[in-house]
Amino acid sequence: MKKKEVRVVTCIICPVGCRARVTIENGKISKIEGLECPRGEEYVTGELEAPVRDFFTTIRIKGAMTPILPVRSTQPIPKDKIMDCILELASIVVDAPIKAGDIIVKNPLGLGVNVIATRDMDQAKKGENSAYLAKS
């Protein structure tokens, strides 16, 4: 028996925000309606076949002015791996100083990307009075 479903995907490539109605038959896209340009078609196809997202979060840091360090992946990762990746990083603690661009985790979950620091974190000087109250 033929399996047929229709899914609605909002295109985010430009402010027009077309809503595409995509017909999927036996797991394959057979028809896309409601898009105004070819860029949208590429986005919608990717979004259904292999959706990816930028990945970013924070990890803990010791000895800096703030207790956490913002990090991101060097390339987008599969959408369904975001929460796994978050958990993978949850237990990591690094020590200051850190430089923006430093690799924090190499190839997490074998995704083929690195997780890098996105800002410099100097060591807090002794007695430095930070409003952030770093408690690490």
């Binding site: 970013f56 703030t66 913002p70 923006a100 952030y132």
Partner: protein
């Protein structure tokens, strides 16, 4: 008390202020001071750990800390002076600045030009008048962002978000990533206030319900928030009582608009625009007080930092030209007035023949429209309130513009074929 004379004072060290200071220095002004009340430069960007910054300015996809660190580094490289932990108390029309910090004590700066770059702040519960008790656990989206992404605190475990502004949507995703449950985003309008990219990637990706034409009618809880009552609203935004239901939660995040922060502008007697909440400016970003310029969210609230940087550069360049006596004399003043489906337009005044970029905010979403600036007509496929409409007027288009004292800027439907 420290007293000094300087060329340009920049008030605020965020995206707008840093860009202004850098541009002014590059234009040859030596004696510049940036005054910043926080303990680091960068404004709001250090806490914006999500990506999407710099796509237009750098053609790169950066996060907030990465974007702003490029400007902080440039300020350092150009040896531009900045004072942190410094609160500006007053500025005068004579461009005298009174500020205070724990190193200089009271500080009095006499500047030749001032760039206002104080940014904006969030609307709070007080501005909304929601009924109910006043428990802990109700905070603005930006406060939650600072707690979670700079200070390392988790504000709550079960969250409701009021308003679908971009920061609220972004925090919905952050809450889920950090292990909280986001019960719903409640929006009084029939469409999202934030960018559709954020609706898709922050809500739909995590199956967070977005309730359109809904609002919060009651807040419950004594010490800590325990629940909120939500209801559907009618066409006049009045809650429909029969639709009320209660959602259990310990945290309510407000993402209900940003207000330009202009107490200092008012102390200098600068004329504000009631539509933007910021100073009325001309195409040089000069306010009603000659030699005082404004840029960024203090003038009107932007949706992209890349545009804030450009506005900062323009204001910084103008301030430098003012100090060097190179700013062209203001010719005829054309006042731009917001017409149909236009909430606000910046600049509000055009005073010379140099090219100018207009930024309009639409009141409601429309498709296949024509934007009218006086007798000029610019077609656009779509306008949406969350995304500013940008209209570039070149010298050639300005020539075609009928020079009346007042020009209406409006967005209307395109006449059918």
């Amino acid at each position: 008390m420290v007293k000094r004379e300087i060329d340009i004072a920049v008030i605020g060290g965020g995206a707008a202020g840093l860009a202004a200071a850098i541009k002014a220095k590059e234009k040859g002004i030596e004696n510049i001071v940036i005054l910043e009340r926080n303990e680091e430069l960068g404004g709001i960007l250090p806490q914006c750990i999500h990506t999407g910054f710099g796509l237009s300015y750098f053609k790169e996809n950066l996060n907030g800390p990465e974007y702003i660190s490029r400007f902080i580094k440039k300020v350092e490289d150009l040896q531009i002076e900045y004072k942190l932990n410094t609160m500006v108390l007053e500025i005068t029309a004579g461009k005298k600045i009174t500020a205070v910090n724990s190193i200089d004590g009271l500080l009095e700066l006499q500047a030749k030009a001032i760039v206002l770059a104080m940014g904006c702040r969030e609307r709070t519960r007080g501005a909304l008048g929601i009924a109910g008790t006043r428990p802990a656990g109700i905070l603005t989206a930006g406060t939650a962002q600072r707690l979670m992404d700079i200070e390392g605190y988790m504000p709550g475990a079960k969250v409701v978000i009021l308003g679908s502004g971009d920061i609220g949507l972004i925090m919905a995703r952050r809450f889920v990533m950090e292990g909280a449950k986001v019960e719903a985003v409640v929006e009084i309008l029939p469409y999202a206030s934030g960018l559709s990219r954020n609706v898709v990637q922050c809500l739909e990706d995590f199956n967070i319900p977005l309730l359109f034409e809904h609002t919060i009618t009651t807040i419950h809880g004594t010490d800590r928030l325990e629940a909120v009552t939500v209801a559907k609203v009618d066409a006049d935004w009045k809650p429909i009582q029969e639709t009320e239901r209660t959602i259990t939660c310990d945290t309510l995040i407000l993402s209900v608009g940003l207000i330009p922060e202009n107490e200092l502008s008012q102390s200098a007697g600068i004329v504000l625009d009631s539509a933007t909440g910021g100073p009325i400016v001309n195409e040089y970003m000069e306010t009603s007080v000659p030699g005082i310029f404004g840029c960024g969210n203090v003038v009107h609230v932007y949706d992209l930092v890349d545009h804030v940087t450009q506005a900062g550069e323009l204001a910084g360049e103008s301030a430098a030209r003012y100090v060097l006596n190179e700013l062209p004399p203001l010719r005829k003043k054309l006042a731009l007035k917001a017409g149909d489906n236009v909430k606000s337009v910046v600049p509000q005044i055009i005073s010379s023949e140099e090219p100018v970029t207009l930024h309009l905010r639409a009141k409601k979403p429309m498709r296949n429209v024509k934007v009218k600036v006086g007798n000029l007509i610019i077609p656009k496929r779509v306008v949406r309130p969350p995304e500013m409409v940008v209209v570039n007027l070149t010298e050639r288009t300005l020539e075609k513009l009928k020079k009346e004292d007042e020009l209406e800027v409006s967005i209307g439907e395109e006449a059918g074929p």
